[in-house]
């Protein structure tokens, strides 16, 4: 599991960040509704991660903020000013795309300097500033290379440098890591966050990878079918999902049958408090996190271990209940060591609140 998100208060760094408000954005393409009244407010210097499956509208929202796509209705305010009708090339926002966005006919330096060229900055200053930005992203040795001579990770760093070179009011990242290898992705993720905190620009980061979103965001917004399901700090999203979608989409879940009554649910032999928004009565399916499930060897118990996966510091064990349901428990590797497949175990659940949905 990744480390908790950096806990710097937004706007700490250099105060360059501005507040952004997206109000009631609506957009349809023919019969498909891409955005259904989306509203998000971003504090100065904050990094908001927008998370959701393909087609949920997160990229549409980002592009609307950038001005690259129109909205049917809704408003966008940056630093208090309504920029809804300002064309994209006047919005002064830096954007990093998923891939292929570097101009192939220019070196890294020229790519980064392009925005400055457009603003009439003189050659010497341009070159110097571009060099500084490339140094910021760790590519001072690649300044004169062309995109096709660089790896995917390097290209995305250049793209980031290019976006930051113009000192944008808002930084927009459209799944910048999705096209990269897993290892490069993790490295670059940390760097992006470090740089963003240092520079202090308000940032919107779109991704379909929850690990990324939870690791990076000051707050994470989960989207589905054009609407915002929940926007909150990562820990809150994880521990207290507000809707069924969020509960099922974020993190791993066990789906176990239980009975709900009076704000609690009876499941796996104990009674757990229900989270708001759950289905509150009768037969329900409780969504329980693997790390909340505990196993201990108990000869003669009705539950049996079916499989064990060793993951380094953790292990996951799959257990079959008498009802036939399968439950996954996640514990420290040492605690699972003697729970080989076939072992009879007792299943207990930590008393944290859970979400329940109709079966």
């Amino acid at each position: 599991m990744s480390e908790p998100a950096a806990t710097t208060a937004p706007g700490d760094a250099r105060g360059r960040g501005v507040a952004v408000q997206m109000l009631d954005m609506k957009r349809s393409y023919g019969s498909v509704q891409a955005l259904v009244g989306l509203s998000i407010e971003m504090a100065p210097g904050e990094l908001v991660a927008l998370l959701g499956p393909s087609g949920c509208g997160k990229t549409t929202a980002l592009r609307a903020l950038a001005g690259l796509d129109d909205l049917d209705s809704g408003r966008i305010l940056v630093d208090g000013r309504d920029i809804s009708n300002v064309p994209a090339n006047k919005r002064d926002m830096g954007m990093v795309f998923q891939a292929y966005s570097l101009f192939p006919n220019m070196t890294a330096r020229d790519n980064v300097a392009y925005g400055l060229l457009l603003r009439g900055v003189d050659t010497a200053t341009r070159r110097r500033r571009a060099g500084e930005m490339l140094e910021l992203v760790g590519l001072e040795t690649q300044v004169d290379k062309y995109p096709h001579q660089m790896s995917g990770g390097q290209q995305q760093r250049v793209a980031l440098a290019r976006a930051l070179a113009i000192e944008p009011t808002v930084l927009l990242l459209d799944e910048p890591l999705s096209a990269l290898d897993a290892k490069v992705r993790r490295q670059l993720r940390e760097e992006i966050r470090r740089i963003q905190i240092m520079v202090g620009t308000t940032t919107l980061f779109v991704t379909h990878d929850q690990e990324e979103a939870l690791a990076l965001g000051d707050r994470v917004g989960v989207m589905s079918a054009g609407r915002l399901e929940q926007i909150a700090r990562p820990t809150e999203l994880y521990d207290r999902p507000a809707t069924r979608f969020v509960a099922e989409f974020v993190g791993l879940t066990n789906r176990v049958a239980g009975t709900a009554r009076d704000g609690r649910v009876a499941v796996l032999g104990t009674s757990l408090p229900l989270l708001e928004g759950s289905d509150a009565t009768g037969s329900v399916t409780a969504l329980i996190r693997p790390e909340s499930v505990r196993l201990s060897a108990e000869p003669g118990a009705a539950n049996h271990v079916v499989a064990v996966s060793f993951l380094g510091s953790l292990s996951r064990a799959q257990v079959q209940l008498p009802s036939g349901e399968l439950v996954v428990a996640q514990m420290a590797a040492a605690d699972v060591a003697d729970l080989a497949p076939g072992t009879a175990v007792r299943v207990t659940v930590l008393p944290a609140p859970v979400f329940a949905v109709a079966p």
Binding site: G67, S101, L102, L117, R162
Partner: protein, 308 residues
């Protein structure tokens, strides 16, 4: 880790049809057997004729080696004039075709890639570009010839004498117009893929960085398209230079351009000693076209280097 690595798959071939083991990259003689038919065919029907032309250019009628053919080609007024006209024709129609075809390519590329207009235009271009000069010559005769649609319209509405309004078609200017007519579709076919290679992200990135349409074309799309444009221009040039059918259909008197000179030399047995001069002309043509096509290939390779 002490795991036993699986043995590399044994590549010995049990098939009877090919000789030797089949490990890819090995250079057993049997492997080359597969390409022999191809080489024989090419050798017989492409390389041999070319050789005959090249060798024949340096042969007198009795077979003895001579430079007189080449000399005639390079010095005689008739030939030089023909070269001049051929090159003028090719340059002009290549430029016109490249510019107009380029505009058309842009118009088609910026439209809906899944719409119905695009395949229609691409298919029509394929037909017009490849389909042979004779039919296009007749098409133009039907339009601008002495009995052509436009000629008759001009006569009936403005009282213009057909002799005046149509005569140009049968000369060099007529050739230029008809050539341009098939250069435009050829340009579309050759240049359109270059537009498809322009990624949308580049336009978006330029805009988000503050660029306008003009700056996008000037700094990004223009430089990226330039090599393909140049390459296409060269291709159009070579195409016009070697075209024969249109001229054969339109021009009934004389041989103003090189391909017609070649055909005259080939078919006229009246003038003795001309047969190998035709070969010398052909040789000259090969050299020019070969140079142009080599440049084209080099430019193509350079352009594709960026499109990774």
């Amino acid at each position: 880790m002490d795991a036993v690595a699986p043995a590399a798959p044994d590549r010995s071939d049990t098939g009877a049809s090919s000789g030797g083991t089949g490990a890819r990259g090995s250079r057993h003689l049997g492997d080359y057997a597969g390409v022999v038919p191809f080489f024989v065919y090419i050798g017989l029907f492409l390389l041999l004729p070319t050789l005959i032309v090249v060798v024949g250019a340096f042969q007198a009628n009795d077979g003895s080696p001579t430079l007189s053919n080449v000399e005639s080609v390079l010095t005689e007024q008739a030939f030089l004039a023909a070269f001049g006209r051929s090159i003028w024709l090719s340059v002009v129609t290549a430029l016109l075709g490249a510019v107009l075809g380029g505009l058309l390519a842009w118009a088609v590329a910026s439209g809906d890639p899944n719409g119905r207009l695009r395949p229609i235009i691409v298919a029509a271009s394929g037909v017009l570009a490849q389909f042979g000069g004779v039919m296009l010559a007749f098409a133009f005769l039907a339009t601008f010839g002495f009995n052509g649609l436009v000629t008759l319209l001009l006569r009936d509405s403005l009282g213009v004498d057909p002799q005046e309004s149509a005569g140009w078609l049968y000369g060099m200017n007529g050739l230029a117009v008809v050539y341009t007519y098939f250069q435009i579709p050829l340009m579309l076919i050759v240049f359109l893929p270059a537009f498809d290679a322009l990624r949308r992200e580049w336009r978006d990135a330029s805009e988000s960085l503050g660029g306008s349409s003009w700056t996008y074309w000037r700094h990004i799309a223009g430089p990226i398209l330039a090599p393909s444009f140049l390459g296409a221009l060269l291709l159009l040039f070579a195409n016009a230079l070697s075209a024969y059918a249109t001229a054969a259909a339109l021009i009934s008197q004389g041989s103003p351009i090189v391909p017609l000179q070649i055909s005259t030399a080939l078919t006229s047995e009246v003038v003795l000693g001309q047969a190998n001069v035709g070969k010398a002309l052909a040789l000259a043509m090969i050299l020019v076209v070969a140079v142009v096509m080599t440049l084209y290939a080099l430019i193509q390779r350079r352009a594709s280097r960026w499109a990774k």
